[in-house]
Symmetry: C2
Subunit: 404 residues, 2 copies
C-alpha cells in the first residue's frame, strides 16, 4: 500500500505515546469531525449514487467553490488523471473574469450541473460567481441544474430549500480544509465517475494503521517537525505531474492549520510543494546550498512500466545512454532516490513515501495520512489546528472599503 | 505601464548608489548576457519570423525542455492566455510517462514541430524524451519536424547539423533561468503567434527605467530584501489565474539564483508564489498569524471591465450584495487591496505592482523587472547569482546508481 521510509531517526519514547493518546482523545471525543469521515462517509455512498443515477441528462459538472471547497476535489481529480472521467469537471475557484468566461464558453446550460459549495454559505467569491451564473442563463427552475453543498442551517441551505435545489450537508464539526472526504469531495467526485467507496476504504485503512493499531511512526515524524524549529519549511516533493494539485491541497492544509498566534507568540510551519524531476532544475539548488531550514518528503509511485526509454544511441550524445532500457517511471524514481541521497548527504531531514500506485484507495490513504500528520503537528505545537482567525481582518477591510 | 507602490520605507542612500553602480558594471562589462537580450533579441526577430513563415504545414508545437528551457515559455503563454494561439503549444518538461503519452495521443507527427531545447545539450530528461519521440515516430528525415535550441558548440548542435535540423543558439553567457528573452523563449512564442517584438520592447523599457535612467526604487527594494534576514521568505501574490505559471518561473529564478553556499556559510531567500483571491483561503492565514518571516509583493492588473457582478439579491444572502455593480476584476483588485492593508497592519513588508494590462509589452517589462531584482539581491547577498553548483551532486549519484 504505502510505505514510509525515514532517512532520519524517529524517537520512540513516552513523549510520543503521550501525544498519540491526545490524538486518540481528539478522535474519540467526537468534536473534530474529520476523523470520522471515512466511516460515516461510507454510509452516504448509496445516497450519492442514487442521486447520480437521476442525472442522466448531465454531461458537465461546474464546481463553484474556493479554498477547502475545491482544493481537495482538484487534488484527487488530478491524482486520478489516468482514469477517464464520466463527466467533464470544471472548477470555478476564483473571481477571475477570464477563467469564468472560459468555462461559460465551453458548456451548455441544459447539460450542466452547477455545484455551489460553501461551508459557511456566504463565501463572497462563491455567491458572486453563483449570481453571475444565474444572470448569465436566467433559469426559471433551479432544481435540475443546481446542487448546493453547505453546512446545515446556513442561509444558503435555506435558499436551496426555497428553490427546490437538492442539498448535501457537511458535518458542522468538519473544517473546510479537512472536508474532502465529506459531501464536499465525495459528491463531485462520484458524479465524475471516481470510486468514492474505495477512496473512503483507503482513508479507513490509514486511520486503522495509525489510530487503531497505533503505528507511532506518524506521530514520531510529526514530533520531528514540531521540535526542529530551525527546519520550519516542510517541502513535499512529488515525483510525477499528477501530484501538482495535491501540493496545492497540502499547502492549504499545512499553512492554514499550523500558522497561528499563541498569545503574543507566533508559530507556524511553511509548506512548499514541488514536482520531480522538473523542480530539480528549479527549487533544488536552494534546498541543497541555501539555509538549512527545510525538511523534504519525497512521494513516488512504484508501479508503472509504461514508456520504455528506447535503446537508441544518438551520435555525440552517448553520455545520455546510461538510462537506456529503463521505463520513464523507473528513471523518475531513480532521480527521486538520487536527489534524496544528495539531500541526506547534506544533513537534511528526508523521508520517502512510496505508493504502490495512484488509484482511489491509495489516494484516500494519502489524503488521510496528511490530515492526521497535520493534527499531530498541531497538537505538538500547541495551536488550534482547526480555526483560521487571521483571514477575517481582510474580509472586514474589504467590506468597509466597498461600502464607502 | 507598471507602477510599484511601496508600503514600507525605501532607503535612499549612498549604499544604494554604490550597489546600483555595481549592477551597472555587471551590465556594461558584458559578462552577464541576459542584460543585453532585449536589444540583441530585437535583431533576431526578423530571422525568427522568416523561419516561422516556412512552417505553414505545422499546426502544433511540442516544446521538449526542462527548467529554464520551459518555465519562461509557460509563464508567458499563461499570462497571455487571453490571446488566441496561432498554433497549439504542448510542453514536455518531465519524464512523466502519463504526461508524455497524453501529448503523443493528441498530435499528428506530420503537422507537429518538436523543439528540443537544452542549453548544455545533454540534459538527461530532454534527450531521453527526444529519443522516445524518435522511437515513437521513426522519422527518416528530421529536418521538417524538429528544431534544436542550444548553446553553440554543444554535441546537440553537432547532432542537429549532421541531421539537417535547424538550430537557434542561446548566447553562452546567458544562464538558463535568465534565458526566456533569448531564442529559448522567443522562437516557440513567435511560432505560436505572440508578438515577440513587443515583448522585447517592454523589457527594453524596463532596462531603460532602472539602468539607463537610474530609477533606484528597484535597488532599494532589493536592499530591503537583502538586509532583512528574518524576512527570508519572499511571497509573490498575483491577483488573477494567469499568474500561476509566472509564479513557477519566479520560484526557479529566485531559488536557484539566491540559494548559495558562501564558504562555510549558507545564504538564500525562499520564494513562494500565490494566486489571489483563491489563496486568501489557503496560505494567507500563515502570513497573517504565523512567524513574521515573509515579505509580500502583490501583482494586480488595472484594466478590465469584463463580467459585471449582477445586481441580483438572493433571499437570505443579502449580506453578499455589497459587491454588486463591480466588475469581477474590480472585486479581485479590491480584495488585493484589502489583503495588502491587513498585512501592513500586521507590520509585514508589502508592495504592490500595478500593471495596466497583461499584453506582450507589460509581460516583457515584468519578466525583466524580476530578473534585475534577482541580480540586485544577488549582488547584495554577495553570492554568484548565475551558477547552480548544488544540483550536480544528485546528477552524479544518479549516474553512479544506474551504471551499477
Amino acid at each position: 500500500m504505502i510505505k514510509n521510509i525515514f532517512r532520519f531517526n524517529l524517537i520512540d519514547s513516552t513523549t510520543i505515546d503521550a501525544y498519540a493518546a491526545r490524538i486518540n482523545d481528539e478522535y474519540k471525543n467526537g468534536q473534530i469531525g474529520y476523523y470520522h469521515l471515512p466511516s460515516t462517509g461510507l454510509k452516504t455512498v448509496d445516497e450519492i449514487y442514487v442521486y447520480e443515477k437521476s442525472l442522466s441528462y448531465i454531461k458537465n459538472i461546474v464546481l463553484v467553490g474556493i479554498g477547502g471547497s475545491s482544493l481537495g476535489v482538484k487534488a484527487i481529480r488530478s491524482m486520478l488523471k489516468s482514469k477517464k472521467q464520466k463527466r467533464q469537471l470544471y472548477v470555478l475557484d476564483n473571481v477571475d473574469p477570464q477563467s469564468y468566461k472560459a468555462v461559460m464558453d465551453d458548456i451548455k446550460f441544459e447539460e450542466t450541473l452547477f455545484i455551489v459549495s460553501s461551508k459557511s454559505g456566504n463565501t463572497i467569491e462563491t455567491i458572486t460567481i453563483f449570481k453571475c451564473i444565474l444572470d448569465e442563463f436566467k433559469p426559471k427552475n433551479l432544481s435540475k441544474n443546481f446542487l448546493i453543498i453547505t453546512d446545515s442551517g446556513t442561509n444558503l441551505e435555506e435558499f436551496a430549500k426555497n428553490n427546490s435545489i437538492k442539498v448535501f450537508n457537511i458535518p458542522q464539526n468538519v473544517g473546510g480544509r479537512f472536508s474532502v472526504l465529506s459531501a464536499i469531495g465525495l459528491v463531485p467526485l462520484a458524479l465524475c465517475g471516481y470510486d468514492i467507496k474505495e477512496l473512503l476504504e483507503g482513508a479507513l485503512e490509514c486511520k486503522s494503521r495509525y489510530i487503531d493499531k497505533n503505528d507511532t511512526s506518524l506521530m514520531a515524524k510529526a514530533y520531528h517537525y514540531a521540535i526542529h524549529r530551525n527546519a520550519h519549511i516542510n517541502v513535499v516533493f512529488g515525483y510525477c505531474d499528477r501530484f501538482r494539485e495535491f501540493n496545492d491541497w497540502y499547502v492549504q492544509l499545512w499553512a492554514e492549520s499550523l500558522g497561528k498566534k499563541k498569545g503574543f507568540k507566533r508559530v507556524g510551519r511553511t509548506p512548499i510543494g514541488l514536482i520531480g524531476s522538473s523542480d530539480q532544475h528549479s527549487f533544488l539548488q536552494l534546498i541543497m546550498d541555501g539555509i538549512k531550514d527545510k525538511t523534504v518528503t519525497f512521494i513516488k509511485i512504484c508501479e508503472s512500466t509504461e514508456v520504455a526509454v528506447p535503446g537508441i544511441s544518438l551520435k555525440g550524445l552517448e553520455e545520455c545512454d546510461f538510462v537506456a532500457g529503463l521505463s520513464l517511471n523507473r528513471l523518475l524514481n531513480a532521480q527521486c532516490d538520487a536527489t534524496a541521497m544528495a539531500l541526506v548527504q547534506e544533513g537534511l531531514s528526508v523521508d520517502i513515501l512510496e505508493l504502490d500506485r495512484l488509484d482511489e484507495r491509495h489516494v484516500g490513504f494519502l489524503i488521510f495520512y496528511y490530515e492526521l500528520l497535520t493534527s499531530a503537528v498541531g497538537v505538538m505545537l500547541g495551536v488550534n489546528t482547526y480555526d483560521q482567525p487571521g483571514v477575517e481582518i481582510g474580509k472586514r477591510i474589504l467590506k468597509t472599503m466597498l461600502k464607502k
